[in-house]
Each structure stands twice: as C-alpha cells, then as structure tokens.
Assembly symmetry: C2
Homo-oligomer: 239 residues x 2
Amino acid sequence: MQQPDSLQYIGVRDDIAARIVAGEFKPGERLPSERQLQLGGGVARGTVREALFQLEAEGIIYRKDRSGWYVSPPPVVYDPTRWEGFMSYVEAQGRRPETETLSKVEIACDGVLSQIFSRPVGAPMYWIHRRRSIDGRAVLIESIIVDAARAPGLIEHDLNGSLTSVLKSVYGVGVARNKVDMRPCALTRGEAEALRVKSGLPGLSLVRTCYDGKGNVVEFDREYWRHDALTVSVDIRIR
Amino acid sequence: MQQPDSLQYIGVRDDIAARIVAGEFKPGERLPSERQLQLGGGVARGTVREALFQLEAEGIIYRKDRSGWYVSPPPVVYDPTRWEGFMSYVEAQGRRPETETLSKVEIACDGVLSQIFSRPVGAPMYWIHRRRSIDGRAVLIESIIVDAARAPGLIEHDLNGSLTSVLKSVYGVGVARNKVDMRPCALTRGEAEALRVKSGLPGLSLVRTCYDGKGNVVEFDREYWRHDALTVSVDIRIR
DNA sequence: ACATGTCCGTGGTATAGACCAAGTCGCTCT
DNA sequence: AGAGCGACTTGGTCTATACCACGGACATGT
C-alpha cells in the first residue's frame, strides 16, 4: 500500500503539517475552517477531511466539536514506576493540571472486583469517576475502585487532588507495587462523551492495580487517555 | 458530542460488532464486502465505511488492501520487564511468530547515535531492519542499532531469531536494564508500507534502549506495532 | 507443471451536494 | 454590565456517483 505523492490528501496533509512546523499555526491555535482549507487547494471537502484525520491520528492536531481543528500541545511524559500523582507530574512539566470528580459512590463488591481485591462479594467499595485536564483540555477519564474497609469515609474528602496522597496521609495506606496494562483502544460511548471527542477516536487504555507492602490490592484504576496527550516511559531492571 | 443511536453509522457499527460477538464471523475470517454490507442496511457506502473505521480503531477488525475486512485475532501480551524475545513469548501464547530481516548494514555513528551510545561520531554501528509477523500477519517493524565494537561480525549471523540471545550466547553481552518509551502514533510512509497498511492507521511506537550491567547501551531499538496486535503489561515496584 | 495474461471484485480516492445541530459571537434589551 | 436572543459559522452526517489500482481467481498457452 505504498503512497505515491500523487494522492491528493497526502499532499494536503503534508502541506498543513509543513505550515504547522513552520510556525504558521502554533500549539493551541485554530486552523482555518475545512471549507477555507478546501479553497486553498482546490479540492473537495472530503479530501481535506481525510488529510485532517491523518494528522489527528498522528497526534498533530485535534478537534473541538463544531468549533474547529486545533494544533496539539506536546504530550506529557508518564512514568508508571515513578508514580507521584497526576497533579504533580503534570505541573513538573510546566503544564496546568485540573481534576473534576464526576461522581463518587459506595458500591457493593461484585464477582470481578472480588477476584481483584480478594474480598467477599457484597463488601463495600468506593467507586470514583474523575476527569482530568491539562491546560484546559480534557485528556483522560478514570474509574477508580478502592476497598472501603481500607479507607472508611474516603469519598467524604475532596478528591480533586491526588488520591494516592489522601490514602497515604489520611489512612496510612502506601503503594509498594504497581501493575499497569496498556492497550491502544478506541474511545467510544461514555469515554468519548466524557472527553468530548468523537466516538471512535483512538485512545490509550491504561489499567493500574496498586498493591501495598503485603500484596493487598489498594486501588484498581481504569484510565482512558486521549492518544495524543501522553508518552509512557518505563525504566526497569530485567528480571 | 453525545451519540444518540439515531446516528446511522453507530447502528451499522453495533450491528456488525454484534454479529462478530455472536460468532457469525470468526477471527481471521473475511467480512462481506462493503457493497454487500450496504445492501443489508440500506445505507450509503460511506456510512458503512465510517462504521468499519470505528471497528478498526477499536481493534476488532482490520483490512487487507483491496482484499477485504477481516476479524482481528486476539492481541499478544508484551511485558518489557520479562524480555525473552519476540519468538519465544509469542510462541508461549500459542501463536506462530515469524521474523524477516529486511536489511542489515554497517553504518557510521551519527550525532544522535553518538549521544545515545556514548561513542564517537563515525564509529561503526550495525543497522538492522526487521519485520515480524504473528500467524502470517505482519504486526511490527523494527529498526535496531547495535555498536559494532561490542558484537563484531553480528550481521553475518542469521538474525531471524532472537537478537538478544545471539548477543548473549555469541558475544557474552547481556541486558541488565531496559528503558522503554511508548507512544500512540500513526503508521505513515515507510512503516505503513512495510506493514502493508493504509497510511494513517493508528499504531504504537515503542523505543527500547538496552543497557548492560555497566550502564553501557547495548542495543537501541525503534518498533512500530499495529495498534490491535498487542497489550503491554508492566509489573513494577514503586521507587 | 508452470508461467502468463485477462477479467472481475474489492477497497481506495475523489467529487458535489445537502441538511443538521452545536458552538460562536455580536446585537439588543434590560 | 449582564442576560438573552438570533444569525451565522463550523464540523458532523449522509447520499450518490465515478473512476482507479491492486488482488485474486481463472483460463490460457507453453
């Protein structure tokens, strides 16, 4: 499936990319509308959109629904072995982090969670749903489960900061081990809606299981990231 | 950007997905052609394609150029902390791995590589380009750089197996530390061509830097994976 | 048995047009 | 100054059509 540059959308794509690199459009800025870009190249709107989709897949631009296409800011670097919490590592990279708690409720442990936490079915658990943003752009949503027995009254606290530090400072629960599964995915339905992106946009699914020193599961966390918002960096000794 | 199910392509997408889950189409099998799917739903071909693109982004189906759409096989699990080599861990998961060496040449160390390897500019390096497949489907391409001084004559060997084991058994060079950077990306140009996919398909870029016990860089490796071919799993102690 | 060539089906690209709903922004009224 | 409204712009969806290039199967020729 080689691409001779005879393909029009490749030409349009490279043209827009070059203008971004040249600094004509800067990170965070809006591109001209699809209909305007169309005029510049004398091509159909569908062709312009195909070019924009490719740049979106590359993480170079992103869209705000019915507002326009924008140049992506650089991604943040996330190292699961140095977990200090979203707020601090985003800030350390000179960006403005933000957290919204979408919901926090007590639920009963079901079969799946029972397996993960080694707790009886029906045991009380907290279910926390948050959205996190960088520089005002929503970049991830997460669903966190915490054993209520380990942190009674947790959801009474303000959870818009670092959950890990609340667990440690208030309940004395520390994290000693971290299991992280990563998988490219599509953002659909609920995730897409919460991140205000079009259903089907590529994303990264990240499942973290945090253990304390005794091997008990402290926190189980499903995260869905915009694919253009992060780079994962792991530095490890071979076992 | 909420999606009422009034959107036609959502309906078509969910319909096809349901038929896959129901077992009407099995992993590796071909779906009906776009024009046939169109007849079933009474919609335009563009709408069918929008639905197929979403399923592709989810990793549920993939395409072979001008041949058709196929149901994706399950992904393999890759744990960078348990690096035993592609061949063995794919086989351990009951799949059939394959490696092709696309090229292997000696090059001179340039400025970038000089930084990475702490070797003088101009020092001889080996540059190895491979394509790896699972069950006959190309899933990744990689570009490997090895310091020629550490492994003289390396490219005379058969490199279709595990490079790591050749380095260890023939040259006594072991890997003690592994730095891995992961980033969702788009497969474009060279990568897309080598993997025989359409330019712009989402992928996962993986950059590995392998160190020996003394902290010297042994191997520098850029990998581009099909996004639907792997799950990354990391299990680590918090520092 | 093995190349070679032809033909048809397939996805890939591109056009042109239409309508919609949500976002944006300026105007007006309070 | 602020709230509310309305016009306009924008991307999102959908139709219909056309042509192309590649893949694959089949037939043909050697």
